[in-house]
Symmetry: C2
Subunit: 256 residues, 2 copies
């Protein structure tokens, strides 16, 4: 499994990915899932990927090949992030066309998803989710984040803390807490964690970090968080018991 | 979907369930998923159920029928909670035997899961999970809770706040926060929420509550929680950026 996360707010954007890959619990290894294709001063393009490793590696390989061969369409030539999303979706479809029949025959999952975040000079920032089928969506002010992989454990913290007005410092902390919640509950999501933080219009990434399993910051974060959560839960208002009793034949009100 | 939760700590136990049932997003209704079979002063037995509504209703019907017919095995006659878990699993298997071939033919899910919590006079408290196949497990001091249905969104808060030493007040708050996190992320989990809290050796449930959607307590809880989470996230230690840079060829350490 994998957990990757992109957050786009007014001040900038963040991408984060774990590094654990597994083919069953008895074959766990670490692979990079966050790829930086930026050209400092001209464009910032960062990709994260989840799903079939052979599919996503093939896609990344073709993206690099197109840059190196200076092909007409490549990550360094396309004029907008929308074009980039469309192009990555197209490359993903080509890889699937080659491999899908062979994997499908043996019931092996061939799907890969991608998050693309960045900014091209003269354009606004963008954050896209490329689905396994090659179609795509972008984040919106109402839901300023995009997740792929094991998304559920880390979603509540994002829903409670993020808005388009969040500061870059705050989204970085929320992202790490979301990542840590996921690692705590799903053993197949794990370090190193790669995180990049981009400030709007900088056209260059100045803040990156890679956190290994025994990183003291991760330990400190987890400890602080557990204490804060426990204190917060305990400080909730007391429940007024027996206000409406629960009988075998309750008085139901459908207020969906 | 459904979310049910049982928590067993030294001081007592809690069971909680939402009430939303759906056959697709265009047919949502409210059904009771928490059933109290207690005999005050002699035994406390509470069941929660998730999964196929027709299967779980059939099981509950048979449990009631066996009590009313004073059958040899029933929820009011069995001497231990282990026997109760075995019996409910057996009833579940009988219902499946009747319905499974017909539902399976049309690809309809027939599985139901149950949580059973309670205490019988002279016995310790117990909390059991009955799987769709009729086999079962019980909670342990290391993991003092059991979830069924949509379990992922509400798990992190439990992992961070619960231990076997938690007070009854604290587990009730944690349970509601876990329930609220799930409702926030999954529209098919919804109110009314039924909650019962049982104090060890009381052999009678004194604390019950049913929270409707517009319950002021639920609103207050959510508001408090969002504020506390945001404050807690913001108060996390600052990230030391650029400690290990993320390059295209990172220095990977597999520290799984």
């Amino acid at each position: 499994m994998t957990y990757c996360l992109g957050i786009l707010v007014n001040d900038g954007l963040l991408l984060a990915a774990d590094s654990r890959t597994n083919a069953g619990v008895d074959y766990i290894s670490a692979y990079q899932k966050l790829f930086d294709f930026s050209v400092p001063g001209e464009r910032v393009i960062v990709l994260c990927t989840s799903g079939s490793l052979s599919t996503s590696q093939a896609v990344i390989h073709r993206l690099e090949r197109d840059i190196n061969a200076d092909n007409k369409q490549n990550l360094h030539s396309l004029p907008t992030l929308y074009d980039v999303a469309e192009y990555v979706g197209q490359v993903l479809r080509e890889v699937q066309e080659r491999d899908r029949p062979w994997l499908e025959k043996d019931g092996i999952d061939f799907q890969s998803n991608f998050i693309i975040g960045g900014q091209i000079a003269g354009e606004p920032m963008g954050l896209y989710l490329i689905y396994g089928q090659g179609n795509f969506i972008h984040s919106t002010p109402e839901t300023p984040y995009i997740q792929i992989g094991e998304t559920k454990y880390g979603k509540p913290i994002l829903d409670r803390t993020l808005s388009e007005k969040s500061s870059l410092d705050d989204i970085a902390k929320s992202a790490l807490l979301s990542m840590d919640s996921t690692m705590r509950s799903n053993i197949s999501v794990g370090p190193p964690i790669n995180l990049v933080l981009y400030e709007s219009n900088a056209l260059e990434i100045h803040k990156r970090v890679q956190l290994l399993r025994n990183d003291p910051y991760l330990r400190e974060l987890r400890l602080h968080w557990e204490q804060a959560l426990r204190a917060a839960a305990q400080s909730m208002p007391d429940i007024e018991w027996n206000k409406i009793s629960v009988s075998k034949e309750p008085d139901f009100e459908l207020d969906a």
